[in-house]
């Protein structure tokens, strides 16, 4: 009888304590971030909207190697290779369907020329589904993105207009196979 009474008092006491502790929360600062007015902080490596970057000389970095399209787990990247008169490869079209994209960043990891990069922009909602499909001219920015001094054609051996074989950085001149000299 007495034990039961003590138990009941204990039950009621715990309820009063929790009422008081919750009441004290009235004087705490709210944790809410009021989003459209206050933007959340996104880190530089945030995986958001995908862009295509240019090299320091202002040329397109993308060489249309298709590695990003192969790496993409949801197959949202489509592109077609073509060549300009200098022999530089570039995509004829480059299309990303952002309604399929899962922002995994595999394309960025696969890219050998740092062309495709993910940015901290996450506000990608559209009213029309077709507006989620972005073409090259929508994604191509004027800057270099995260890598400021990388220029694929200046380090690669491929000859293009204005840069012949052996003229790339750290590249030896091509060996003359018909000569016996060392």
């Amino acid at each position: 009888m007495l034990k039961g009474l003590v138990h009941q008092v204990k039950i009621i006491w715990t309820q009063i304590v929790s009422l008081w502790l919750v009441f004290l929360h009235l004087f705490h600062k709210a944790d809410t971030v009021e989003y459209p007015e206050v933007k959340p902080h996104t880190f530089p490596r945030w995986r958001g909207r995908i862009i295509l970057t240019r090299d320091p000389d202002g040329e397109e970095r993308c060489v249309a190697c298709n590695l990003c399209a192969v790496a993409c787990p949801v197959d949202c990247i489509a592109l077609q290779k073509t060549e300009d008169e200098d022999g530089r490869w570039y995509p004829e079209f480059f299309r990303i369907n952002f309604s399929r994209c899962i922002m995994c960043g595999f394309c960025e990891e696969a890219c050998p020329t740092h062309a495709i990069q993910l940015t901290p922009d996450f506000e990608m909602a559209e009213y029309v589904r077709q507006d989620m499909v972005w073409e090259k001219e929508h994604m191509l920015i004027d800057g270099t993105g995260k890598y400021h001094d990388y220029n694929f054609y200046r380090v690669a051996g491929k000859a293009i207009g204005g840069k012949d074989k052996g003229e790339a950085r750290n590249e030896l001149p091509p060996t003359d196979r018909r000569s016996l000299l060392p």
Binding site: S18, F23, T32
Partner: protein, 327 residues
């Protein structure tokens, strides 16, 4: 007819308008305070401080599809949600807000309020029954069981107040508290009535008829649109009614505490009544934010084994003291 006296047209219009507007506003107040208790902000977008949130909710509810399930009992299904706001509004006719402010002063006012609170349970019961759905039926059953067991000691707990004031009229009870609130001699009665009031208005932690987690909103699972809105508004009017009844019965109604009354007795009375009602509304919201829902058997055993004996002992002691003083 348009003067300020009990039962005048002005009084009726003002009280009806105030009650309906406050009940709508209460939805916003509750969500806002729940937010603060949870370290959130709550709805603060629609209008200044989000005060028009209720308007937006009502527009949403009215424009929603008003669907009656084909397997439901049509007539009962439509009637059930109408009962609760009507009986809750009828109860407000009894509440004395200030001297000369009130709709009617009946000598059986308290009994009328109790009867109306009893009728309100038909809303949940019939709604659950007419929906023809297992979960709704469970919710309706729970509502019925809860109402029966909690109405018993709700009635007994206020008998102490009736004994002390020698009146069933709510205005008489308030006037009898001019020189001392009944919360002091009737503290146990107050606690029991508070618990019963929470249970009567289906408020947390006694929301077993709804039980969102276990029986998916219980008796109103099948309701949508404005039919659901009527249940919702009725519940909030009920909460407001209980928040008005507790000050009237135990906290001296319009009487100012510590002689803090000022100026015109009607203005002062309305102010202090509003302060007391607001305090209890916020307390109800705090209870919702803080306490967990009991199991159904715990609810029942708590009602019959703790609250009922407590209220009976309270009634017995009060009666004995009053009798011994009177003789």
């Amino acid at each position: 007819m348009f003067s300020l006296q009990v039962g005048s047209l002005l009084n009726v219009a003002l009280i009806l308008g105030t009650v309906l507007v406050s009940a709508a506003l209460l939805i916003w107040v509750e969500r806002r305070f729940l937010g603060f208790f949870n370290d959130r902000l709550g709805p603060n977008r629609v209008g200044p401080f989000g005060i028009l949130q209720s308007v937006a909710d009502v527009i949403k509810l009215i424009t929603k599809e008003d669907w009656t399930p084909p397997f439901a009992d049509k007539l009962t299904f439509v009637v059930a949600p109408i009962i609760i706001p009507i009986v809750m509004l009828l109860s407000f006719a009894m509440i004395p807000f200030a001297p000369d402010v009130g709709i009617i002063d009946m000598n059986i006012g308290l009994l009328f309020v109790m009867a109306m609170a009893g009728l309100a349970s038909y809303s949940a019961m019939l709604g659950g029954l007419a929906s023809n759905n297992k979960f709704s039926l469970l919710g309706g059953l729970r509502a019925a069981g809860q109402m029966i067991s909690y109405e018993v000691f709700m009635g007994i707990s206020i008998l102490g107040v009736v004994i002390l004031s020698d009146s069933f009229s709510l205005r008489g009870i308030v006037e009898a508290q001019a020189d001392g609130w009944y919360v002091i001699p009737q503290f146990i009665g107050f606690i029991v009535f508070m618990v019963a009031a929470l249970a009567e208005s289906h408020r947390w932690p006694f929301d077993l008829p709804e039980g969102e987690a276990e029986i998916i909103s219980g008796f109103n699972t099948e309701y949508s649109g404005m039919k659901f809105g009527l249940f919702f508004v009725g519940e909030y009017i009920g909460m407001l009614l209980m928040a008005c009844l507790i000050p009237v019965l135990f906290f001296g109604g319009w009487h100012a505490p510590f002689g803090l009354g000022f100026g015109n007795p009607i203005v002062s009375g309305l102010f202090w009544m509003a302060v007391k009602v607001g305090a209890f509304v916020i307390f109800f919201i705090l209870v919702r934010a803080a306490l967990a829902r009991p199991r159904y058997d715990q609810l029942m055993s708590y009602g019959w084994l703790v609250m009922l004996p407590l209220s009976l002992i309270n009634l017995l002691i009060t009666g004995a003291i009053v009798l011994s003083q009177g003789s």
